[in-house]
Symmetry: D2
Subunit: 264 residues, 4 copies
């Protein structure tokens, strides 16, 4: 019943200055609205649609920047990991390890992440039913780590389209672990632009608000000061300028939702 | 920006006493919460999964009962029509003609309904994209009737399953007409029980709340004092006893949503 | 185990001369390949995407033309019906009444069609699971009419897209009634062009061949001498010039499939 | 236009004797029918639904067995790889590296596999459109390796269900690379049994025959002498006893399809 957490940042890490600028604005916006804040950025986009898509700073430089942001800004930091060997290294630098949706069933990756003792946020695969997340939780719990978060980021719906089934949020919550709504990936159109993904950023606040009203622990929102020129996921990222208003409004729905919890 | 309308009643008309009992409790619950109320019941279930499914009172007796309820309870009444010839007859007895989802593209039915001058509520077909509702609106508008409502009731998602895409609500609203969320049909599992539909009534409030928080003109909720013994749609109808609380909570989200309208 | 039947003709009836030209070419092509032939055309397109879409000759003139074609060309004729009252009238003029996919659950229409004693071909709704066709069969059988055909024409798969699940063919065959593959509607993109449907006519032979190889009683293929200028369904109709080769090839796969029937 | 290749074997490697028995029977069946044969088995099931699912012999012992089978039986061998580092090791032991569907977008894995010079078979992700495989081909081709195969294994269709869109086969073939139909995974019901996948083995021959009739380079079929007691994928594997007949029939459809190639 704590207030909503906002996990936000750019899709990929571009530079320390850029990350710090975004973390600073988001920290301020969250503080103003009473939200908890976690900075998010990826050091490597390991599964771009096309080979020519930019992948980011890489693990060595990337983790240094992420660690530095966490300390400089005094915010928890989340980043995604892509192989067993990256888990321990990343867990030294950040607070939350994120398992990408495509990798959500890779047993060794889940175990390696769990074994670090860091919090682990698993994104539900685009082909997976919400109730299958229980099996994934069990894999992580087998390491003794109970700091688990489960994220909805849309389910495959025909070609090049995702849909968010709002029933999935309480269904995932039935595992007993906090549920996160990833509102910007859920409006992506995977592969929709041929060699990159399209997206409908105008609908990310729709999904965020719906999820918060039902009751979630956190929203995940990628943001950029100039999304149309961002190196990845531009079509679905929210303008950084719009984030303070969006967070403030979400907090009002969060407060109301937490006064009226849904039961199942 | 008027307060939320609640369209509610039993799936099928069972008797005048039963309809009056439900209309009475719903009218009271809506008045207490500040919601507008429209009574809903069907005189004929013309497309039951199986031949042995009960169809209701029939058009003659059914329309008499509906008209009597409207007068006795002083509430507007909605019912669905299934052929061109039923439209004028039904429009004499009720206030809103509803076009069933399966029939949402039948041009003659839309024109006949439009020509009555009554309000027309069209349910989006389970196979239809939200943006296709513009073509349906144009069919009705061609009759000079602009009292049009558009209802989301779920989209086919694999077999025996519906999913509600919350983006569809603002997409349908872009037609300029009021949008209704049918929260109980959207959680049905069509044909899911072999010779009848299944349903997940526990998730109807989830979809209702999500939709109201985004901003809709109305919610549509089927309700019954004993859903498990109702002649149709039992698995997804809400217990009548639960409706006052549900309506009261939805009104709080409605008020907040109307303070913070989403723009596109 | 009789040879494949080919149900083919233009989407909508344009004129007697046009219908006769197509019926003539198709009859010849089918005779050459050893296929049984049924002429198909619609006298009314009752559910066009948009109000401005052409609907055809209408029931009075249309049924006259269809009856005349049947006699003049000595071929059985199929047409679709849209209301209870049309069934008996249409059954006087043609051999097979077809229930459109959107209407496949309308009980009264199924009963009226069954009561004519004519053969009834039901298209599976785009939102319906193949195994739900058993309930539809039961509705028709209740009239004492056992001349039932079941047609696959694609299932909703995300927005504006259909997919054909080849498992559905044997699943529908388990009812004991002949199964038809509608290869041209199954490659339509419903509403895909905004105010009309798109389609991928190049893939219709793919679905036809796959279905025939598995084993079906008939294929349904809409054809036109100039599809791009046809009044409806142009994007998915096959060029009439291509039909003799297509039918001839399908007959080879049909012969092989009937030597190697699949069992379940 | 070479005759069909059959890629077949047990889902997971159980023991050298077991693998040799299956490879022996399949080699014989394929030789009798004129099909080319590739033995398939996995040394590690790295993404089981549940942690308690058996994973197999592991990479060290597994690759030894696979290499031994290849030599002893004089058949090419295919196995799947799950990380960059496994690629070179596996390529020393087998002929074809397979990229699992969940990993089909992992750039480093595709590059590592390509760099081995071995043939690379990529399974299309369950959430991916067929036309997105071009981007994956480009990743592998960037290594100079053109020995690429693309496999259809079903696309997510609602929850716990896959559907095979037969249009995807020619769409993938438009890349210019051979296309494989994985007929047994395509009938799996992912996660359908709670802590493991269900399946409909009776429909695997349906999909195999449909694909071969359209024209594919290979079919992929998992097989076991006692599927219901196999350590993984039992519900969709074909009985080994049924394989000789199945292969013989498929070869007849293959021969006919190759006499009548489809053009796009």
């Amino acid at each position: 019943d704590r207030p909503l957490t906002v996990i936000a940042g750019p899709c990929q890490l571009e530079s320390e200055d850029h990350a710090q600028m975004i973390a600073g604005k988001m920290k301020e916006a969250c503080a103003a609205a009473g939200a908890q804040y976690i900075f998010k950025a990826s050091y490597d986009k390991a599964n771009r649609t096309s080979l020519s898509g930019k992948r980011g700073l890489g693990i060595d430089q990337g983790l240094k920047v992420l660690q530095s942001i966490g300390k400089a800004m005094d915010v928890p930091v989340l980043t995604d990991v892509h192989s067993d060997t990256q888990c321990a290294i990343a867990a030294d630098a950040v607070d939350v390890l994120q398992i990408p949706a495509f990798l959500c069933r890779q047993t060794d990756l889940l175990l390696a992440a769990g074994n670090t003792g860091a919090a682990v946020n698993v994104k539900k695969g685009q082909w997976l039913a919400p109730w299958e997340m229980g099996n994934i939780v069990d894999k992580i719990k087998s390491t003794g780590n109970e700091k688990i978060l489960l994220t909805e980021r849309g389910t495959a719906f025909g070609y090049n389209t995702l849909v968010t089934d709002m029933r999935g949020l309480p269904q995932m919550a039935q595992t007993g672990y906090p549920v996160v709504m990833d509102a910007t990936h859920a409006v992506a159109s995977p592969g929709g632009k041929g060699t990159s993904s399209g997206g409908q950023r105008e609908f990310a606040p729709v999904l965020a608000r719906a999820a918060v009203s039902i009751g979630v622990a956190a929203v995940f929102i990628e943001t950029h000061e100039d999304p149309d020129n961002a190196p990845s996921d531009g079509p679905n990222m929210i303008y950084l300028d719009h984030m303070p208003d969006l967070v403030a409004t979400l907090m009002k729905f969060d407060a109301l939702a937490k006064q009226h919890p849904m039961t199942f």
